[in-house]
């Protein structure tokens, strides 16, 4: 039921796909379209002008829009994070996680690269790794960056990320570090319930996410191969360039930026994360093989559905809980909100060392 009063109407409407929700989605979409493609013939974007007016970046400098965008993004994460902390401050997991995500956004994802740029270095985002940042394995990147940075990108992407995912699940990244997840879980928190919980959506997710991963891997491989053969196969260079530009346009800009954020009021906060993010696909595989799980307390679920409703990844948590099944789903980002909202304290996130007693029972399953 709706809440009372005009403010109550708005609070309901904007979070329940009402007119205001669609208006908000369109506004965000418009913002991104102008940001990405609104440059005039001189390469000046309307948001560059806004940035200059706010004394962000040098006057006349193109690209100031990105600094403005970074500042807005960081402000959204910080303010949204504070609102989130006021709501869930009693849960220390949520408190610690949210503070970390705000700090990472404000430093590694914003002020550190900004300072690098101001000091004349190429900027570097330490908190992003391959395959989220496609170009870390590209020869161009490797050649133009100091060795420690390149080393960090390699070790971070290929060793640290998977190992941490095996030990703690993908949550260490998707709910604690990544800026996309950071925005979703702070400014976007009121939209988390809009994710699609149906089995159909789950089927789509399993196809779409691994399809994006394959495209990512193929693109990376092509770019590497083309650099390796150094112009010996012009056809390869052509293909590599094609994949690279299209990937940048479709995956990086369209899906992760535009669809990802503009869809908040319509499809929930994790549309990109759930259906397309190649990093999520990789971490999810390690998570499945690792120790993270959501433990279900035996015979205590009242099937109320609060957990499923609040799962931003569209996982039907209730289905597991009411069947007494502890579970690890590849898509789970370990936000811990299912556990937080459960009125009966049925769920807990853990890095399991031992199996819970109920996992040793043979469960009666329905035929599909």
């Amino acid at each position: 039921m709706k809440r009372k009063g005009a403010a109550g109407w708005l609070a309901h409407d904007v979070t329940h796909r009402g007119v205001t929700a669609w208006a908000l989605a369109l506004a965000i979409l418009g913002f991104y379209v102008v940001l990405y493609w609104g440059d005039n013939a001189q390469g000046i974007n309307p948001f560059d002008r806004v940035a200059w007016a706010l004394h962000i970046g040098r006057h006349g400098q193109s690209g100031a829009k990105w600094t403005l965008y970074g500042a807005l993004y960081t402000a959204a994460v910080t303010l949204g994070g504070i609102a989130f902390l006021r709501r869930y401050g009693h849960n220390r997991y949520q408190v610690v996680r949210t503070i970390v995500v705000i700090v990472v956004q404000a430093t590694l994802a914003f002020s550190v690269p900004l300072m690098m740029k101001m000091a004349g270095h190429p900027e570097h985002y330490f908190s992003y790794l391959w395959p989220l940042k496609m170009y870390y394995f590209e020869p161009g990147f490797i050649r133009s960056n100091p060795a420690p940075l390149v080393l960090w990108s390699f070790i971070g992407s290929l060793v640290i990320a998977p190992v941490l995912a095996v030990i703690y699940g993908k949550r260490w990244y998707c709910s604690w570090v990544c800026g996309c997840g950071g925005l979703a879980n702070t400014a976007g928190d009121s939209f988390r319930h809009l994710s699609d919980k149906s089995e159909k959506a789950w089927r789509f997710e399993r196809v779409s996410i691994y399809a994006t991963l394959i495209i990512t891997v193929v693109t990376t491989a092509l770019v590497l191969a083309s650099a390796f053969v150094q112009g010996a196969h012009p056809q390869l260079d052509l293909w590599s360039e094609k994949f690279r530009t299209n990937y940048g346009l479709i995956v990086s800009s369209l899906l992760s930026g535009i669809i990802g954020v503009a869809a908040y009021p319509i499809g929930g906060t994790r549309v990109w994360c759930r259906y397309f993010c190649p990093m999520a696909a990789v971490l999810g595989l390690f998570q499945r093989a690792g120790r993270f799980r959501i433990r279900v307390k035996e015979d205590q679920c009242i099937s109320c559905g609060m957990c499923s409703e609040h799962c931003e990844m569209g996982i039907d948590v209730r289905a597991y809980a009411q069947a007494n099944e502890s579970f690890t789903r590849a898509s789970c980002v370990g936000c811990g909100m299912c556990s937080e909202v459960c009125p009966r304290g049925v769920l807990t996130l853990e890095n399991a060392h031992t199996k819970a007693p109920q996992e040793q029972l043979v469960q009666l399953r329905l035929k599909k």
Partner: protein, 422 residues
């Protein structure tokens, strides 16, 4: 041979669980579920979240709708008015009949009515909080009420009060007992809950009952007078004075099973009528000379699953495992494991020095009989095992930290020394 016709009356958790579990064991049976309340099984325990706008209506349903088609479970919407055991058939209010080879009665519970002077003249504004139609009524009443009175300090009453407070309705909560839900809460926990409710702005009136109700000219409730003589103006009056087994309809039937408050069933959940089982809130299990009636979700679910096994050939006897229950008072979660009856057992209480957190160990001086806790989460599976194994009290207390279940980083320090437990 044609397939067995199994009719399940009631699509609450007992009926729905029975239907699904039976299908998992019996591919051929013709399974029909009848309900007068809803087309699909929904979670009664989640009514409050729908009322608070935290769940959409569809979110109340624990299974996707196509599950019922896929599992070939026929759903019939209608009210059953007669049971004829000789012809093995049910009659619905619209006159149609349904034959069965086996019948499961899972008609649940319905709210107890309040008979106080004036209530017969009230045409609107009075509601309970048990069914989907109550939810509809509450939604429209909340939208049009500034003030409300809720009577009945049980769990459902507290839930309704929470919803009203959530919507900014000024609420007077009338509780007959000296604190909320004394059946489960000790005096200290009761005081914590009362404090917590008051912090949320609830106007609590303990040791009061409702003396009379007044309607306005249009028939809408306009005031409630308490036993103290105080008159509280309101536009909504919530009646949550308990539920009772929904068996009244059975008494008017051609064949009436044995009823003693609830439908009496044996240790295989069979009623006194052949081929008729009963499960959930409407059933009481005969155990020796005693009748065990546990009108809670967990028990109804277990009953439903048990009857499904009976219907697929099992001859096991029903034994209740260690009792577990749970509730929530606004933000304070409550759990109980084992026997937590202050009249039957001694108990030792630990309370947090500053937060509304309490834990209680019930014992006979030497061994553990039960455990209850307010304001924190516990691994009830583990503690249930301790109770089952009748562990020494000191042993259990010393290990309590292992059984904490709060989220990571959120575990408060439980004192485990004997002195800290009064």
């Amino acid at each position: 041979m044609s397939a067995r016709r199994i009719v399940i009356l009631g699509n609450g958790v007992a009926g729905a669980t029975c239907a699904l579990d039976l299908r998992a064991r019996d591919d051929r049976a013709e399974i029909t579920v009848i309900s007068d309340e809803s087309d699909y099984f929904f979670s009664r325990t989640a009514l409050m979240y729908a009322l608070m706008d935290k769940l959409p209506r569809a979110g109340l349903e624990p299974y996707e709708r196509r599950v019922w088609e896929r599992q070939r479970i026929t759903r019939v919407r209608g009210r059953v008015t007669d049971l004829d055991a000789e012809r093995k058939q049910l009659t619905l209010a619209d006159g149609t009949t349904r034959a069965y080879d086996a019948l499961v009665i899972a008609t649940g519970a319905r709210p107890r009515a309040l008979s106080v002077p004036g209530i017969e003249r009230v045409r609107s504004g009075v509601t309970s909080f048990v069914s989907l139609s109550d939810l509809d009524a509450c939604e429209s009443l909340v939208a049009t009420s500034e003030r409300a009175v809720v009577v009945g300090g049980g769990l459902i009453g507290v839930e309704l009060v929470e919803c009203l407070v959530h919507h900014g309705v000024k609420t007077t909560f009338v509780v007959r007992e000296p604190w909320c839900w004394p059946a489960g809460l000790g005096a200290e926990e009761g005081a914590m809950v009362a404090d917590h409710l008051r912090k949320h702005g609830v106007d609590l009136r303990f040791e009061r009952t409702v003396a009379s109700v007044e309607p306005d000219a249009s028939g809408r409730v306009s005031a409630v007078t308490l036993s103290s003589g105080e008159r509280v103006a309101c536009e909504m009056f919530g009646v949550c004075v308990g539920v009772e087994p929904n068996v009244a309809w059975l008494r008017a039937c051609k064949s009436v099973p044995e009823i003693d408050g609830a439908i009496v069933v044996d240790d295989r959940l069979r009623t006194s009528i052949e081929s008729v089982w009963a499960a959930g809130d409407c059933a009481a299990v005969r155990a020796g000379t005693a009748l065990v009636h546990e009108p809670i979700w967990y028990t109804a679910k277990r009953h439903g699953a048990f009857v499904a096994r009976q219907l697929s050939g099992s001859s096991e006897r029903y034994t209740a495992p260690v009792f577990k229950n749970s509730a929530k008072f606004f933000e304070l979660e409550y759990t109980a494991v084992g026997q937590c009856d202050p009249r039957a057992h001694k108990s030792a209480l630990w309370t947090h020095k500053s937060l509304p957190i309490a834990a209680r160990l019930f014992h006979d001086g030497a061994t553990l009989w039960g455990f209850s806790a307010l304001g924190s989460r516990w691994d009830t599976t583990m503690i249930g095992r301790w109770v089952e194994e009748r562990r020494p009290l000191d042993w259990a207390r010393a290990r309590l930290r292992e059984a904490q279940f709060d989220p990571e980083f959120s575990r408060m320090r439980v004192e485990t020394s004997a002195e800290a437990w009064r």
